[in-house]
Symmetry: C2
Subunit: 160 residues, 2 copies
């Protein structure tokens, strides 16, 4: 498709349209990014406003709650967080009393993150909210759920 309004009179001159069409709205990376932002937005906002917890902190909390005493490195690998981001999230959670940072006895380079009782209580609240949220989402995507999961698996596993 060639646009007749083109004025290709040299470098630096204004053009209104190129000769091909590309729809961002049907470009998968774009669509996935926007959809993911939308999915996270509601929950993230609530966590921030009601508990002062960021997404990074939420991920740290989940992993510590699930795996017990973990290192920064482990969080970095398991929940897709840059190690500096994981470190800062953990420090902030420690500062706000939701977890403690100890030195790992057998390897003193490692840190051992553990929830405090306050952290456990927080997690109980956050999990309840997250599970509610998840069930609303499940309802929304119910007809496509299994294909969606498989597509996500394919994206995560394959190299491209």
């Amino acid at each position: 498709m060639l646009d007749i309004t083109l004025t290709d009179s040299g470098y630096g001159q204004p053009m209104t349209k190129p000769d091909t069409d590309f729809e961002l709205g049907s470009f998968l990376p774009y669509r996935m990014t926007v959809a993911a932002e939308r999915l996270s937005a509601g929950l993230a906002k609530r966590y921030r406003n009601e508990f002062g917890i960021s997404v990074a902190e939420w991920r740290v909390l989940v992993h510590v709650a699930d795996a017990g005493a973990v290192s920064i490195r482990e969080i970095h690998q398991r929940v897709h967080l840059e190690k500096s981001k994981a470190s800062r999230a953990a420090s902030h959670l420690e500062a706000t009393g939701f977890l403690i940072k100890e030195v790992n006895g057998s390897d003193r380079r490692l840190v051992a993150l553990k929830l405090t009782a306050k952290g456990v209580a927080l997690m109980r609240e956050l999990q309840t909210i997250a599970l509610d949220y998840q069930s609303r989402l499940d309802e929304l995507v119910a007809p496509y759920k299994s294909a969606l999961e498989k597509a996500l698996d394919a994206i995560m596993e394959d190299d491209f």
Copy 2:
């Protein structure tokens, strides 16, 4: 599931596990976010290394290429970019000679972004790469493609 290693001896004391399990790995907002990052990463890196173009700039380019003379506001609404981000992306694209910014004649608050010939040439290259990328992705998610699209539509359209 109750973890017997709990030492709930008061506030601020270390805990190893809470009494419920929550799997981040099966939490849709998390999965979508990570998958979206993965989908964008390859292309974004290439655009950045080979052309010095950010994701925001890429979105601006696509919309200007598709819609001709557009305002910042229009970009903001159409391609899911904060207006300050759109403004900065446009300024950088102007500084590097890929587009020009004019004042809209009928409403002088508005800006009119138009590709330069250099911008059109860039877009031709970027689009080719993007379409190649898209076709590899399509291949990857082929079995789930239509369900995936419907799921994304549902996420974008519904309120939850």
